[in-house]
């Protein structure tokens, strides 16, 4: 889950990985292209905007606040919040947003694939 926050590893390192070599390589290549072209940044901004517009972010913040109230303002950890929010977050993305993003990613892959 940390692919998008870590800098992309060099291709040599990746090729040395044992499992799912082809998929991993392809995925990594596309990831590199996403970052280098700036499309990754554009996509992030687009998703953020859409999720704010549709109220998804507010729902997440409410859920966070509930957890904070339950566990105590000073005792709650980031990991706990992430653990609780992630399933809700993944499930509550509106279909229109998901579709828009998937289309954009698909187009990029098709145009960038070797």
């Amino acid at each position: 889950m940390k692919h998008s926050v870590n800098p992309p590893p060099t291709p040599d390192k990746d090729v040395a990985e044992a499992f799912e070599k082809d998929e991993l390589t392809l995925r990594e290549i596309i990831n590199i292209k996403l970052v280098e072209s700036g499309e990754k940044e554009n996509l992030m901004e687009l998703v953020r905007d859409r999720l704010v517009e549709c109220g998804w972010k507010d729902e997440m913040r409410i859920a966070c606040r509930e957890l904070v109230r339950k566990k105590g303002r000073k005792d709650v950890t980031v990991d706990e919040l992430i653990r609780v929010i992630t399933p809700k977050g993944r499930a509550s993305v509106p279909d229109s947003v998901k579709e828009e993003l998937l289309n954009r990613i698909q187009n990029f892959i098709l145009s960038a694939a070797p």
Binding site: M1, H3, S4, V5, L26, R27, I30, N31, L34, L43, M44, V47, R48, L51, K57, M60, R61, C64, R65, V68, R69, R73, K74, V76, T77, V78, L81, I82, I85, T86, G89, R90, V93, K98, L101, L102, I105, Q106, I109
Partner: protein, 164 residues
């Protein structure tokens, strides 16, 4: 395409982590209005309002017990005594204005004293008055607790003014 879904999931997870991190920061710094604190504050302010609104706390009834912001208590009627320059009586400061009204001629009774003898005026007192020529009022219909609808009434030197 499965690959694009994977990328979308990664993107979404990043955003979720960002939101969680932001909420965590706000929670730890106490920037967001903490519901528990607010509930406590609401409760305390409701208590304070109840105390203020409670009629048994009004300064009229409880002037000896309620306290101002400097921690001092004051009687509800100013009780410094001095001499009325018109009738030479000893008057309480808090009773001076109504006294002057009677004493100097606003009321019917004060004007009457010019036309009636002082003895006849005295005979109207229901409570028995001191023998002065400047006792301007009281009628036989007057009850001892002063329920004539007059805002205040004259004080007697022995200080027997009533509260409404």
């Amino acid at each position: 395409m499965k690959l694009s879904s994977q990328f979308f999931s990664d993107l979404l997870d990043s955003i979720i982590v960002d939101v969680a991190s932001e909420c965590h920061r706000i929670a730890r710094l106490g920037l967001d209005h903490n519901l528990e604190e607010e509930e406590e504050e609401l409760r305390l302010s409701a208590q304070a309002r109840a105390r203020v609104a409670d009629p048994s706390n009004s300064s009229e009834a409880n002037s000896k017990y309620t306290v101002d912001i400097f921690g001092q208590t004051h009687p509800s009627i100013a009780n410094e005594v001095f001499e009325c320059m018109n009738c030479r009586r000893s008057i309480m400061a808090g009773r001076f204005a109504p006294h002057l009204e009677k004493c100097m001629g606003k009321g019917r009774k004060a004007r009457l004293k010019a036309t009636r003898s002082s003895t006849a005026a005295q005979n109207r007192y229901s409570r028995g008055s001191p023998a002065t020529t400047y006792s301007p009022y009281s009628t036989s219909t007057r009850l001892s607790n002063g329920t004539l609808g007059v805002a205040g009434h004259e004080d007697y030197p022995n200080g027997t003014s009533e509260e409404p």
